[in-house]
Each structure stands twice: as structure tokens, then as C-alpha cells.
Amino acid sequence: MSKRKTIIMPCSGIGKVHGLIAREATYAAADMANAETLCLALLVSGDKDARAKIKDADCIAIDGCPKLCAAKNVEMAGGRVVKSVRVVDSFRGHRGAEPGTATALADDGWKIVREIAADIACGLGKSEVK
């Protein structure tokens, strides 16, 4: 198994429920898999330490929409994206779901958060999902 550290990064989808799901899923997955997170804005603003950090890590990008801001920016900064998750795709299995709003998730939104986080944690060999 890779000795590289894992960094999970969501897009900055602030102001949209998909973005909030990406952010919450990042926190949940990082908790379950004991992985790190990093401010995407820090990376985008060209911070040297942030760039150095992702160079030595396997990055998992969680994006709210198909624009894939997180995945693209991690790659542009020289990072290796080992898994790219799109929140919109998770809605396919939840037709008619009511996820909540950009500021507060409803039950359906949290359900999707847990699914994304569990999927990531399992992929990292942390299957004993809380």
C-alpha cells in the first residue's frame, strides 16, 4: 500500500447545496479515514507550502458540479488526484432527493454526505465506517 499521505479537498462551492455536500463529505471522509484536508483557496493563491504538501500526497477531490474546480486545481498545482468524486453523480441514486440548502443540509443531504464519505473511506481501506 502507498505510504503517501492522503489529502481530501472539496471545491469551494460556497453558496450552493452541492458545494456544502462536498465540504461536509470532506470532513466526514477525513474523519473516517484519518486523512488530512487543505484549503483549496490556499493552493489556488499559489502558496508554496500548500503546493509542496500536495506533491507528496495522494489527493482525493470532491467536487459539487461538473466544473471540477477541485480536481482541476489540484492537478494544475502539480498534485496527483487518485480519486475524483462528483456530488452531482451521487444524486443519480437518489431521485427526488431534497438535500437542503446552501447553508443547512436536510436528511437527504446528510445521507448523500455519508455515502460519499463511506465510499472514500472504504477505498482507503478504512471499511469500519462509523
Partner: protein, 283 residues
């Protein structure tokens, strides 16, 4: 004018999370529009129209100031700025490390919303007051080696800390002298003080940063800060170009100018201090 907010949207720092909360709350309560920092970086054209038609508020979580850097890189005109960690410090609120905003964090967010509202009314009051703060035309010069330091010969008073003050009625404009700007060389960053706050003589009224060093600007007078030069957020080089005019730092509603004056110098006396300092810098 409509307001748009550019938050750093930090994720792994408590102050970054609060910057995000503040942006969301401003949207909900004041109808502000959020600019996503990453999308802005990738496709600035997308926000071109919105930014041209609105006042831009930049919110940074911590002193890394990601959002400010981004705005600066893209050459955006910044109308106001907030640094959440600084706000926490000045309000005395203890913000822990938790990435879930707790009641204290939300109290800080509410305080910042109130401060912003107060700041807005300060700035509009300032626009209504007529005042003549044009750049000076007559100067004394102090020459040292290959350097020439200019000092306005009339209408300005100076502190030993190399700041100037120009008074009109009960208002004063303050800034740094030519000596400071030449010593700092190219100024790249300006951090304003909080508009609306009350300061004593020689309290901090902003800070300037260049590749060479950083300097706190100490106000030569006491009073209430009624305006900060927000143009410097975008164009800090104005301090280099016109330190006594367009590069002003703040406007103060004077509290006790008569006693402040006792510690201030006229152009002649200040020029002697500059001579000495220039000789020391040279050593």
C-alpha cells in the same frame, strides 16, 4: 451599490470556516452575492460584469490572506476587507480549533456583520463632508547622498515616527512621509485599521509591507477613524507615488488636537530629524 463578497472559504482552519459563515450570512441577511474564489481564479470573465457593478468585500480567514492575494493577482478593485483572525483578536473572543462554528464563533460573525454595517455608514458620511486634501505643491528637501527626501513646507505637521497629519476643521488626514516610502521601497500590501474605531495618539492606524520590510503606521493624532484609504488595498504603490496626497492612510475625527499638537513638529524641525535618520540608515 450592490455588494459582492469574496471569502477565502478556508476549510481546514477555524478562521477560514468563519470567513465562509460570514459570507453566507451576508448573503442571507444583506442580499450580498458570493464570488467563489476558485471559480473566479479559473474563469475571471464569469464575474466581470458583477464585479464591475458592485462593491467588493474580501474576507480572509487567517493572515495567509488567500482571498486578498487572489484579488490582488487578478487586479480587482477591493472596496473593503476583513481579516477574521484579526477581528477575533480585537474583540477578545477566544475562537478554538473546531471546524464547526460554535456559539462564540457565531457571536463573532454577528459582530462582524454589525461592524460592516457601521463601516458602510461611516464611509457614506465621509463622502458627504467637503474637504480639501489635495496633494501639496511646496516642499523642503533634505538631501543625503543620492537621496532626496521631500517634506511639504506648509499645512502639514509631522511626528518623530515619520507620519504626517493635515487638519481641516475637526477632521484630519494622516499618512507616512517620503522618508518612510523611500526606505520601504516598493510597497506591496496595505492593511488598514478598522474604520469606526477610536484611537489614541501613536496607536496603529494601518500597516504597510514591502519586499524589504513591514511597518506599522502610528497615528500622529487621536480620535475616531472615519475613513480608511481603500484605494490602497488595490494600489498600495500610491504611497510610493504620492505619500502626502493620494497615498494617505486614514481620516480621523479629531479628539484632542490641541494636546496632540504638543508632540508634533513643523516642516523645519522634522527636516532636521530626517537628516539625522538618513545619516543613521547610511551607517
Amino acid at each position: 451599490m450592490k455588494r459582492v463578497v469574496l471569502p477565502c472559504n478556508g476549510l481546514d482552519k477555524a478562521f477560514g470556516v468563519l470567513s465562509c459563515e460570514l459570507a453566507l450570512k451576508l448573503c442571507e441577511t444583506n442580499g450580498a452575492q458570493i464570488v467563489c474564489p476558485v471559480l473566479l481564479n479559473n474563469s475571471p470573465a464569469r464575474y466581470e460584469k458583477t464585479l464591475a457593478e458592485s462593491d467588493l468585500l474580501v474576507i480572509d480567514g487567517c493572515p495567509t490572506r488567500c482571498a486578498s492575494k487572489l484579488a490582488n493577482n487578478l487586479g480587482l478593485k477591493v472596496d473593503d476587507k476583513i481579516l477574521v483572525s484579526e477581528q477575533a483578536k480585537s474583540s477578545g473572543l477566544e475562537i478554538g480549533d473546531s471546524l464547526r462554528p460554535d456559539p462564540v464563533g457565531m457571536q463573532l460573525v454577528d459582530m462582524m456583520i454589525n461592524d460592516l454595517a457601521a463601516r458602510e455608514s461611516d464611509i457614506s458620511t465621509q463622502e458627504l463632508i467637503p474637504g480639501d486634501f489635495e496633494s501639496p505643491v511646496d516642499f523642503l528637501s533634505v538631501t543625503h547622498d543620492k537621496f532626496i527626501f521631500k517634506i511639504p513646507s506648509q499645512g502639514y505637521l509631522f511626528s518623530e515616527n515619520d507620519t504626517w497629519v493635515r487638519v481641516i476643521g475637526s477632521r484630519a488626514r494622516v499618512g507616512v512621509t517620503d522618508f518612510v516610502q523611500q526606505n520601504l521601497t516598493d510597497i506591496t500590501y496595505f492593511e488598514p485599521a478598522q474604520a469606526g474605531s477610536q484611537i489614541e495618539q501613536f496607536d496603529e492606524v494601518g500597516s504597510l509591507e514591502s519586499g524589504k520590510s513591514m511597518t506599522d503606521v502610528l497615528s500622529p493624532v487621536s480620535g475616531r477613524i472615519i475613513a480608511v484609504n481603500i484605494r490602497l488595498a488595490d494600489s498600495p504603490e500610491l504611497v510610493n507615488e504620492d505619500p502626502y496626497g493620494n497615498g494617505w492612510i486614514a481620516e480621523i475625527e479629531l479628539a484632542d488636537f490641541d494636546s496632540d499638537k504638543e508632540l508634533l513638529l513643523d516642516a523645519q524641525s522634522y527636516s532636521r530629524i530626517v537628516e539625522k535618520k538618513a545619516a543613521e540608515v547610511q551607517k
